[in-house]
Symmetry: C2
Subunit: 492 residues, 2 copies
């Protein structure tokens, strides 16, 4: 088998890279920090995107498209109320190449084609969008604006990893404008629940919902809500964020509306986003040492059929039967691939689709045909069953639901086992080093303590859970009094 | 009415801008030459994109995503066989901003964050994709690669127009790799027909299919196939291109495969694309002095329902009936909007949806309710009919098909009337100036003559039609002998 992958136990990080590359989700590119999303990975992203897009539209949002470029001056307007924004970004300074007069066949940047004002490739679009909203919002009648954008964004990351952290990535960013604070907060929380619904019910990945501390908040936000997932190495991964932006962007870009009493007020804002990073989470949460394990609801193919035959006659007979099966599966909306390619042996195909995480494999040989049966293998549990062809489509439909549910249950059990209380500093450090996962501990509520804990352990406060219960206790670092536990973890 | 638009007769160009802006398809942005695609325009684009995407998938293509950036050196590799590439493009030279030490609150480009190699924002992706294909293609078993990408691209245009010519635009670009020349040519032609099918049957816009002359060919192509549409001012618009690239890119990026005899050969290539420019074509081909006229198959809303009432009681009764109607329309897959907003009068709404080109308007008042009827207005012909509510959904379904067909027929009649033979230079110039449209004329086959004609008249050879009939004649400019007519026009 040429496509061997590193085991989790040997090197977790290499295991992840192997899965992404050999599972054909993505590839490295000629551009530093940028990846190519391969057709199999992109089909997965399309299924995720389409499901999310429908959820956004069902909650009243519409899509639009704003420019890739943000003039530097808009960045400066935003900067005023958000000193914390990262400044690592791609900057366009010129608009023309020319032939190098000293070096035939080479190109140089034309120094005469320098832009008067530099353009930043959007790292996120609040600035360009709020600058636009200024022209769209005059009255309360223009509100709310509930707009989403699917786009590429660029952040000049120094250390990149396929899907998890790339210079360019794909995402969606919702940017909404509201007449009241309450309505904006309601929107922020609503979209957090939409994200949790999607990640749990489509990606089979349980999440914790909460609010970030001031340290971990988006620079322009009053409050950042997040969903946090747990990877198999015990590290947390932020899977989505929803920001209540207050009136910060309205003030930076002077966006006011006249309310029903004809009084001018600043507009209230939210923004929320998830990205192709979710694919990284999916890979790390569900896969095993044989390859990817994809949840049926978003898998590019839910079923792969592999024929086992000797000679053209057997193949022809199997083809006929398989085409009947495919028709029945498609009638139920099941995505199926028939791999009757002559260039590879069945064993190679079995390993290939195991690597690619196809939820159900169906193998059918000449003898099976006689007995009117097929062999079905589940990717999640690796169980195999011989099943009658009569009623097969219904059987598989049920099996796909069972796999989806089992994947969620497995991940949920793992998550539940990895939320542990720590009541002392020693216990906290020991849990982090030996068990991992989320550690629920008391904290004195100060940024200084949070920073100190991060400095000592690399653990951060992932969130303060929604509806957190109050409980008297002492901060694990300073011993100062605290009224609730917060969730710490090391994170991606 | 605040949303008055300029008439075609007064100022065709301003009429177009008015339609785009007041029809809420797009807006200007803070970035020179870049537009914002507004929700209504983006919903139109989504419908177009989804229809095309399905056609691509039905013909065996898959989607992927390649980086936004092209390193300058890849541009140079490509340049070798394509000196003609435009060099007006956005160039990233730096990767960090920093606070201006001399000017509080301002940002400057950090001179220490200069890239070793400049990155070009993709104007098209042949270079980055063929550089990637090199790693994906070793054997004939890896072929064909049938990959499409939906992406944003940037070309630094000096004079821009909403949708028709913007610095950034959205498009799809297919990039396929084949083992044989014949297969690549077949793919090129197949995709041309897919484009024609889409533009004619979804956009209701008849096109002429043909091949470009060497002058008008894509710089890296051996042959450029195109579809050309005709606008209401008699100017042509290239609506899509499909390129047979020969082995040019395979040679530039050294992409070889071993064939069945284990011999190394260069790979054959095609690329093909359509863009948001199609929306510009749609607007200019179908609209009138009252606003947009959108073809039902891609209109964001196919039906808008406007209630006419006095007081809450009437409104409530109408709401009940309309909700029944909506349910029936949706059951047939019809996209419907109910505008029962209290803030605007029916007359304003009528004008608004006329402006926005909604194919069917349905008005219903209290008296209509008593009589169990509604008033239906077609946007294309402006005919109004009073129709029974019984069987209404079926009636509207049929009406939408009739509108789609009528829009195509109208545009087809216009196109057919505007393909005119010219047999002398004087006739040619007179037709261009007085009638417009496509002029079928003899041409001596040389680039020099083509250039001279363009210089004198601004008309270019739009295409040599597929299956063009041979016919002896004399070039309209030089009088030299010619074996076929070609199609000239002034063009967008």
């Amino acid at each position: 088998m040429s496509k061997e992958i590193t085991s989790r136990a040997t090197d977790y990080s290499q295991w992840y890279n192997d899965l992404v590359i050999k599972g054909e989700l993505a590839d490295y590119s000629a551009v530093r920090g940028c990846m190519v999303i391969k057709p199999y990975g992109f089909a997965l992203w399309e299924n995720m995107r389409d499901a999310l897009d429908k959820m956004f539209k069902d909650t009243g949002h519409v899509n639009a498209y704003f420019p890739l470029f943000v003039p530097k001056s808009l960045f400066e307007a935003e900067e005023k109320n958000a000193e914390g924004f990262a400044k690592e970004c791609a900057i366009v300074t010129h608009y023309r190449l020319k032939s190098d007069p000293d070096n035939k066949g080479k190109l140089i940047v034309d120094p005469e084609a320098k832009l008067e004002e530099e353009l930043i490739i959007r790292p996120t679009s609040e600035a360009i969008i709020w600058n636009t909203y200024k022209g769209w919002i005059q009255s309360y009648r223009d509100l709310p604006l509930l707009i989403n954008q699917w786009a590429n964004v660029v952040r000049w990351e120094m250390r990149t990893r396929l899907f998890l952290r790339t210079a360019e990535f794909l995402w969606q960013e919702g940017h909404t404008a509201h007449a009241t604070k309450d309505e904006a907060i309601e929107e922020t929380v609503k979209m957090l629940h939409v994200y949790a619904d999607f990640v749990e019910n489509w990606m089979a990945l349980p999440v914790l919902k909460g609010v970030k501390t001031a340290n971990e908040r988006f620079a322009g936000a009053e409050d950042t809500y997040c969903i946090e997932a747990l990877m198999q190495d015990g590290k947390a991964l932020q899977a989505g964020t929803s920001h209540f932006l207050g009136q910060n962007f309205a003030k930076a870009f002077d966006v006011k509306f006249s309310d029903k009493e004809n009084k001018l007020e600043y507009v209230w804002a939210t923004s929320w986003g998830v990205s192709t990073r979710l694919i990284g989470a999916l890979v790390m949460a569900h896969s095993d040492d044989q390859g990817l394990i994809l949840p049926p609801r978003i898998a590019p193919f839910q079923v792969v059929i592999v024929p086992i035959y000797k000679g053209d006659e057997q193949k022809a007979a199997i083809d006929v039967k398989v085409n009947e099966i495919i028709k029945e599966l498609k009638a139920l909306g099941i995505r199926v691939k028939y791999d009757n390619n002559d260039n590879a042996r069945p064993g190679w195909k079995f390993a290939e689709y195991e690597m690619k995480g196809v939820p159900v494999r169906l193998a059918i040989g000449a003898r099976d045909l006689e007995k009117n049966v097929v062999e079905i293998a589940r990717r999640d549990t690796k169980e195999k069953h011989v099943v009658s062809i009569d009623g097969l489509a219904e059987y598989i439909n049920g099996l796909l639901s069972a796999i989806q549910q089992n994947m969620f249950n497995t991940a949920k059990a793992y998550l539940d086992e990895h939320i542990t209380n720590a009541d002392s500093w020693d216990e906290f450090v020991k849990l982090l080093d030996e068990k991992g996962g989320f550690i629920a501990a008391h904290w004195d509520g100060t940024s200084e303590t949070e920073e100190a804990i991060k400095e000592k352990t690399k653990a951060t406060i992932r969130c303060i859970p929604l509806d957190n219960k109050t409980e008297e206790g002492q901060c694990i670092l300073t011993g100062k009094s605290s009224s609730q536990r917060v969730l710490f973890a090391r994170a991606y």
